[in-house]
């Protein structure tokens, strides 16, 4: 028996493989349930069954795609706002930011959870097979058993300003090559866990390994904001808060003590 034709899915698969941005709109409630409109920045294919509805959803889908958001919207028969004739799920396939977490330690699983909330594609990497397991990190997108510097050799070129590398191993044997390799990438955030004493001894080893002043300035070590975090979960919040603040260029302090627009 010949496999069923799936032209929309084939196009979705092609765009995903090419990492091209697109949005897929599906009627999930109302007449035409299951109908699909595939929206790319340069045009749309498919139909939700009505031209005006297609036009409105295409416009909204491009907005959602630009914001990297997915969600449910409702429309009138011809795409009218504030009516509830059909419900349309618009799923954005923007490229998500990435977080690489080195070290499969207790703090890792909390950091993975928090990073997923923020929409990161999270990879956990540890050379120790017994710790780097999918069971321990069910929410991670990928769990890799390898040395961090070797993973970075493979994926480092894909890292950019929106991405983050968090080194949680606090073992110089793993940390130093991982940090030196991460500094070769364009990653926006490079944080390293450890006590002040660990930090000092690590810095010495990094200098022996040839880190320069610019590299030292890029390091967030010890990583995280000073919010008094103690538990793995609190520490995860402290770390991602620093990631966000670095990306937005804000100096962290209480909103109460700041002025100007909150969403600025």
């Amino acid at each position: 028996m010949a496999a069923q034709e799936t032209p929309v899915f084939d196009e979705v698969a092609r765009l995903l493989r090419d990492e091209s941005p697109f949005a897929l709109a599906t009627i999930v409630e109302g007449p035409g349930s299951g109908a699909k409109l595939l929206v790319r920045p340069d045009g749309a294919t498919g139909t939700l069954g009505e031209d005006d509805l297609d036009r409105v959803v295409e416009r909204d889908a491009l907005g959602e795609l630009a914001a990297g958001r997915s969600g449910l919207r409702h429309y009138g028969e011809h795409g009218e706002a504030r009516e509830d004739h059909v419900r349309v799920f618009i799923e954005s396939f923007a490229q998500p930011p990435q977080m690489l977490v080195f070290g499969a330690v207790d703090f890792t699983s909390a950091l993975v959870r928090v990073a997923k909330v923020l929409g990161y594609r999270v990879t956990v990497c540890d050379a120790r097979e017994v710790f780097a397991t999918r069971q321990r990190f069910p929410l991670a997108d990928e769990v890799v058993v390898d040395w961090p510097d070797r993973l970075l050799e493979r994926v480092g070129a894909d890292l950019g300003p929106r991405d983050a590398v968090c080194v949680l191993t606090h073992d110089n044997k793993f940390d130093v090559p991982a940090i030196m390799a991460a500094l070769e990438t364009a990653v926006g955030y490079l944080g390293v866990m450890g006590s002040r004493r660990t930090h000092e001894s690590r810095l010495e080893r990094l200098r022996e390994a040839g880190i320069d002043a610019a590299g030292e300035a890029r390091l967030r070590s010890p990583l995280g904001l000073d919010i008094g975090a103690r538990t793995p979960e609190e520490t995860a919040i402290s770390i991602v808060s620093e990631v966000i603040a670095l990306r937005t260029g804000h100096t962290p302090r209480a909103l109460r003590d700041a002025s100007g627009p909150i969403h600025g």
Binding site: Q4, V8, L16, V28, L72, F89
Partner: protein
């Protein structure tokens, strides 16, 4: 869908019928964001997830029914719905799923 693309293409190549369950809406806290997708092949093999493992078992049952009956359906799982559903999210939120055959 990105993370399960390989499974989907392999199953398609093997001629297996597939149902897709996608998170389309969340109320309160939920482990996976809208867009999280789980695929179920006609023989019950699963790829991806829609929660942290809380409702996947029930989703398999719904997905297999969808393949059998050829319908599309909205399914909700939530703590507050524990009388209506045998399973729920322990985290207290509600997730709304759209389940359909991959026939498009």
């Amino acid at each position: 869908m990105r993370e399960i693309l390989g499974d989907l293409e392999r199953w398609r190549a093997q001629g297996r019928r597939i149902a897709l369950a996608r998170v389309i809406d969340l109320e309160g806290s939920g482990p996976r964001l809208p867009g999280a997708t789980m695929a179920v092949a006609e023989d019950g093999e699963v790829a991806g997830s829609v929660s942290g493992g809380c409702v996947e078992g029930a989703v398999v049952t719904e997905a297999l029914e969808v393949l059998e009956q050829g319908d599309r359906r909205l399914v909700s799982f939530g703590y507050s719905d524990d009388e209506a559903f045998a399973v729920g999210l322990t985290c207290g939120g509600t997730i709304h799923l759209f389940i359909e055959p991959l026939d498009w």
